[in-house]
């Protein structure tokens, strides 16, 4: 226990103000030095750094966020201000030996500070219910996609009006992959999980929905602007949960229709027969199970073509076999096959050296290929 008398109490409020000013000035200086402007700081308190939401539903959610934020900020300033004033003003001063007034309560103020928060939360509830009805509204969709989640990738099945599969996008990201959607047309996404719980989350859509085995969730939205939107699994699904990413490519309607027609044509074309035995040389055996290769090291002869007999044992999970050289450049990329199935890839002759192999869909599935 401190035994010194509180002789400094009189200047305490001043000291507190000085400390507060110094701390605030220091914080502002540090932020400015780090290139963080007040505008950027302010924007960081809004979804996706204040960027415009990307769908019709997201605008409604953003408006609701702004209301909650405004009320929350106001409540914080008022109540925190009250705390600070109380703490500064009512510190015990020297010579205060008598007791302060022993006030046990006051029913009127209890009623007031019960009624005001009740009114505020009921207002917020009504606002959020109205917004919820907008977000959950249904309309006849122009495109129906089923996002199929499995550890640790997304596949996008495009369905026709009867709900039958037209074609699948196996690659979740990059050119030629991702969830391709038209701008300005209502889209219906239904979710299916092949194994554990996942969640479809696109930050700029201000929306996520869980993909749960045994249950098909769906939701609708219309994308505002062309562009690429980053998406990611948001429900823990295992070790590589963090790499379960995807992209939404929103295209103008005309571009989308061109792309869609080409995909349908590709899916309907007779698949080319696998080049069985076409490639001379030895055959390497490789299989995939539980999103892992059967081996982490393969050997192949230098300067001679060889084949890879690849068995994909993961039901409903797409895999392939890709070879990258030491610079990371892709030197062979096999077609993606969805298990359970098997195929044989013919690989042209490679110069001697150390290569890595991987699954294009699952960058975490890797191994080394020694060519000698």
């Amino acid at each position: 226990m401190s035994t010194s008398p509180r002789s400094r109490t009189g200047s305490g409020a001043l000291v507190a103000v000085v400390i507060a000013v110094v701390v605030i000035a220091a914080v502002v200086a540090v932020l400015a030095a780090a290139g963080i402007t007040p505008q950027r700081l302010w924007d960081s308190f809004f979804p996706v750094g204040g960027a415009a939401p990307a769908t019709d539903r997201a605008h409604a959610t953003r408006s609701l966020y702004d209301i909650v934020f405004a009320i929350g900020a106001l409540v914080f300033v008022l109540v925190e201000g009250l705390i600070v004033i109380t703490v500064l003003r009512y510190r015990r001063k020297p010579g205060q030996d008598g007791l302060p007034p022993q006030i046990h309560g006051n029913n009127l103020v209890e009623i007031i500070w019960t009624a005001i928060p009740t009114a505020i939360v009921l207002f917020l509830f009504v606002m959020s219910w109205q917004t919820l009805n907008k977000v959950e509204a249904k309309a006849p969709e122009a495109v129906h996609v089923r996002a199929v989640a499995s550890r640790f990738q997304w596949q996008f099945d495009y369905l026709d009006a009867q709900g039958n599969l037209t074609f699948s996008q196996n690659l979740p990201i990059g050119d030629g992959g991702g969830l391709v959607l038209p701008v300005g047309e209502p889209v219906l996404v239904s979710l299916r999980s092949m194994d554990v719980n996942h969640a479809f989350y696109v930050p700029k859509f201000l929306f996520k929905r869980d993909a749960i085995p045994g249950r098909e969730n769906s939701f609708e939205f219309t994308v505002d602007e062309p562009g690429t939107y980053r998406g990611q699994c948001a429900e823990l699904c295992g070790a590589f949960h963090g790499s379960m990413v995807f992209e939404v490519h929103a295209l103008p309607v005309a571009d989308f229709n061109t792309w869609y027609t080409a995909q349908v044509a590709k899916a309907q074309a007779t698949p080319t027969p696998p080049p069985s035995g076409a490639a001379a040389g030895p055959t390497l055996e490789l299989s995939a199970l539980n999103v892992a290769f059967s081996t982490a090291a393969l050997q192949a002869p230098a300067n001679s073509a060889f084949s890879v007999h690849f068995k994909n044992n993961d039901a409903s999970v797409p895999h392939n076999f890709e070879i990258k050289d030491s610079t990371g450049a892709s030197v062979f990329k096999g077609d993606i096959v969805t298990g359970p199935t098997e195929t044989t890839y013919g690989v042209k002759a490679l110069p001697a050296g150390a290569y890595t192999f991987n699954c294009t869909v699952h960058p975490n599935m890797t191994g080394t290929l020694t060519v000698q």
Binding site: V68, P100, Q232, A239, H241, G242
Partner: protein
């Protein structure tokens, strides 16, 4: 003040290990609860530092993805089940019989059993790190199918067994508290003269008694699914994966109140003493506590808004409404300070820190009650910020306030005020540095429970700030541990009543003798020791509402 030298029992605290291992004294058991909890707090804190180090910059630097998942799973499991809940039970154990003027808990041996189940359960849970495949790694929520036998190893079984024991410990403790509170009160200690801490322990015990068996049933169903071919949660065989979430959160949302109500009780003890005023609106406070307990059972599905499997408006409304009794408490606390004579000893510093951080933790929770906003921020770092403002910024700050407040009673010696204030300042800064930026990370779309993120995501700066903050928090533990070690040996002698307290623990020696009291003051209000010091209770008639 009475001197402790007259007390024949004081030397019992210097007796050997055997005495501690076999004791049924609620005070020793309470202290063992505190020590055990602090050990798991440090273990959980180290795991949190592993998580923060890994997230400090993009790329995987120090652990594998698999270990990362074990780290955050066991961090949360330790902190929730082996730190926050038991340390509050520990304060309850130590303080409630003293507050009631009782010689001990109603069932001292069951009390010892409910303590000893904790280190056992904790060791069982932690032993998962030695199992093949490592410790449980599906998050502290352990949702199936991920926590099923197909995707998770033996660590999950150990986690289930450990948590079942810990739950049993809670249930036994709750029964003990209820019987003690209803049957062991001293003459004159009516229900509406009980300290608020006792009220919060009472409501918490009811919550535990109603909710924890439900958690245990969820865990047993999961165990059967994993080991004996049950299909409770397996949709391929007629089960339902969402069922687990319903049952789990039916416990785990009330559990949030189990983790915060006694902390509110501690704050409600500290504020009146250091403002030299009675708690403003004692009865309103009691009713608000009961209301929070009751509403706490009707909001569980707000953790499941994005499952598409719950009736959204009902749970949204209930979640908003629970802000009302919480707000009432906040205003009553501020009114207690208002026009008081505040002495800024360390316990009051922690209590005012609690008020600020609990305010933030309440406001950022309201965002999640607005369902469409929850669709955006659910399972992002926003939620991590929210839970830490409630459970760390509020519960843990209250815990430290409580340690500084009752350490003199427990040991007879004061903790150093200087070191206590240093710790508070470091911890307050570190806490806000760690957890405030998580709001912004969540808004920017960073999901929780990811081991890595792309440099291009724009999350690197704030993650680095949060990691630095995490180490500042760790640094704040050093003055605390030093303070405890030094003060145990050479701290200032406390005397019976160093703070001019209000409640009965200050009417006995420090530390109290076995069975607590040689004599009791008259109990005519909720502040019997204050009344004994200052004469007739002031305004007592209006308070008790005769």
């Amino acid at each position: 003040m009475a001197t402790t030298t007259l007390n024949p029992a004081a030397p019992a605290y210097r007796s050997g290990l055997y005495e501690w291992l076999t004791t049924t004294d609620h005070k020793k058991i309470g202290i063992m609860y505190l020590i055990n909890s602090i050990v798991f707090f440090i273990a959980g804190g180290i795991l949190a530092l592993v998580v923060r180090l890994e997230l400090a910059q993009p790329g995987l630097q120090i652990v594998s993805e698999a270990f990362y998942n074990q780290a955050f799973t066991m961090h949360a499991s330790f902190m929730l089940f082996l730190f926050v809940i038991p340390i509050l039970a520990g304060f309850g154990n130590y303080v409630v019989p003293l507050h009631l003027g009782a010689p001990d808990m109603a069932f001292p041996r069951i009390n010892a059993l409910s303590f000893w189940l904790l280190p056992l359960g904790g060791a069982l849970m932690a032993s998962g790190f030695l199992a093949t495949g490592g410790a449980a790694a599906s998050g502290w929520t352990e949702y199936p199918p991920l926590s099923g036998s197909k995707f998770s190893g033996a660590g999950t079984d150990l986690w289930i067994m450990g948590l079942t024991l810990i739950g049993t410990s809670s249930i036994l403790g709750a029964i003990n508290f209820l019987v003690t509170i209803f049957k062991m009160r001293a003459p004159g200690m009516t229900l509406f003269r009980m300290p608020i801490l006792v009220w919060t322990v009472l409501v918490t015990s009811v919550l535990i008694l109603m909710a924890t068996p439900v958690l245990t049933s969820a865990l047993i169903m999961l165990f059967i699914d994993r080991n004996y071919g049950g299909h409770f949660f397996d949709p391929a065989n007629g089960g339902n994966a969402v069922l687990y979430q319903n049952v789990f959160w039916f416990y785990s949302h009330p559990a949030v109140y189990i983790m915060i109500l006694p902390a509110m009780g501690i704050i409600s003890e500290i504020l009146p003493v250091f403002s030299r005023k009675p708690l403003f609106g004692y009865k309103a406070f009691v009713f608000a506590t009961v209301a929070i307990g009751a509403l706490g059972f009707s909001v569980w599905a707000h953790h499941m808004f994005t499952t598409g499997a719950v009736f959204l408006p009902f749970f949204s409304l209930m979640t908003f409404l629970i802000a009302v009794p919480t707000g009432v408490k906040m205003f009553n606390w501020i009114a207690t300070l208002w026009r008081g004579q505040l002495t800024f000893k360390t316990p009051l510093l922690y209590a005012t820190g609690f008020l600020t951080m609990f305010l933030i933790g309440g406001i950022n929770g309201a965002f999640s009650a607005a369902v469409p906003v929850d669709f955006a921020i659910h399972d992002t770092y926003w939620v991590v910020a929210h839970i830490h403002y409630v459970l760390f910024g509020s519960s843990v700050f209250a815990v430290f306030g409580g340690i500084y407040y009752w350490f003199p009673k427990m040991t007879g010696r004061m903790l150093s005020e200087t070191l206590g204030k240093i710790q508070f300042v470091i911890m307050f800064i570190g806490f806000n540095l760690t957890f405030f930026p998580m709001h912004q990370l969540g808004l920017m779309g960073m999901p929780r429970r990811i081991a890595d993120y792309a440099a291009s995501a724009g999350w690197s700066e704030l993650n680095l700030v949060a990691t630095i903050g995490g180490f500042v928090i760790a640094a704040s533990m050093l003055p605390f541990l030093w303070n405890v070690l030094v003060s145990l040996r050479s701290g200032e002698i406390a005397g019976d009543d160093p703070w001019e307290g209000n409640t009965l623990e200050w009417a006995t020696s420090s530390p109290p003798p076995p069975y607590n009291f040689d004599s009791l003051p008259e109990i005519r209000s909720e502040r019997p020791v204050f009344d004994a010091r200052h004469g007739q209770p002031v305004g007592h008639a209006s308070q008790t509402g005769h």
